[in-house]
């Protein structure tokens, strides 16, 4: 078993792990269980943490497996009820005019990297992620936070690569639009 200091350090990432789990599972109780399992597995496997990656990255890796287990057990049926809607491209056509030009061209965000160190920005991003449709959020986080390869996601969720790219495209479009409205072009904020 790990020393108390290690336990405390793992526990300090609890909030982050829970946010990621809730966004993907959309069920607070199941997410709590998954995070509990993750922290327990981390303490039991503390010797497996080499320190080569950050503790957060290591914990994310454990969480990834726990979430995939849940999806394997129960995720394919009810949670995916709206998958059909989220893999349609038609409603995204409205972003473009009949000649294929942007209706609202994406703006220049200047040097957006400076926002990453701001707590307020991370809160806006969290809010924008929560607004994504459930399957879109799940798939997008698998790709961008858990860093799964496209083929792995298709296999785990039993979706086609075309479904996958439509969902990821939908997520990126929605997120960039939300961030532009709520942050980069928000009144009173210099982009």
């Amino acid at each position: 078993m790990a020393e108390p200091d290690f336990a405390a350090r793992c526990n300090s990432h609890r909030g982050y792990l829970l946010r990621v789990a809730v966004l993907q599972l959309r069920d607070n109780d199941v997410a709590e269980d998954v995070v509990q399992d993750t922290l327990l597995a981390a303490l039991q496997g503390a010797s497996g943490f080499s320190g080569r990656s950050s503790l957060k990255t290591w914990l994310t890796g454990i969480l990834k497996h726990k979430i995939i287990d849940v999806i394997r057990r129960k995720g394919r049926e009810p949670a995916f009820a709206s998958l059909d809607e989220e893999t349609q491209l038609e409603d995204l056509d409205a972003l473009f005019d009949e000649t294929g030009h942007w209706e609202n061209p994406p703006a220049d965000w200047g040097n957006p990297e400076s926002a990453l160190s701001q707590q307020q920005f991370m809160e806006v991003m969290q809010m924008c992620l929560e607004k994504l449709p459930p399957n879109t959020a799940r798939v997008f986080l698998m790709r961008e936070v858990m860093e799964l390869e496209s083929e792995e996601i298709c296999k785990e969720l039993a979706i086609t690569s075309t479904n996958l790219w439509v969902i990821l495209y939908r997520a990126r479009i929605a997120l960039r639009q939300c961030l532009e409205q709520k942050w980069f072009a928000a009144p009173g904020r210099a982009a």
């Binding site: 982050y16 990621v20 957060k56 056509d93 972003l95 473009f96 000649t99 294929g100 030009h101 942007w102 061209p105 994406p106 703006a107 220049d108 965000w109 957006p112 990297e113 926002a115 990453l116 991370m122 991003m125 986080l141 790709r143 961008e144 936070v145 860093e147 390869e149 496209s150 996958l164 790219w165 990821l168 495209y169 990126r172 479009i173 997120l175 960039r176 961030l179 532009e180």
Partner: protein, 58 residues
Amino acid sequence: MRLRISCKDASRLISQLQDGDIPLWERLRIRLHLQLCDACTHFERQLRFLRAALRNYR
């Protein structure tokens, strides 16, 4: 196939480019489009920023 593509097609390809290999021909079409289009250039930078932001997410 045409060399010129619309923003609608370009934006889809730019997103796909983040998730795996796409054919050389499509990459050339994106590159050409980006040279001519500020909006899609912004879009492409924004997607790269989103990736960085999500990796930095806490």
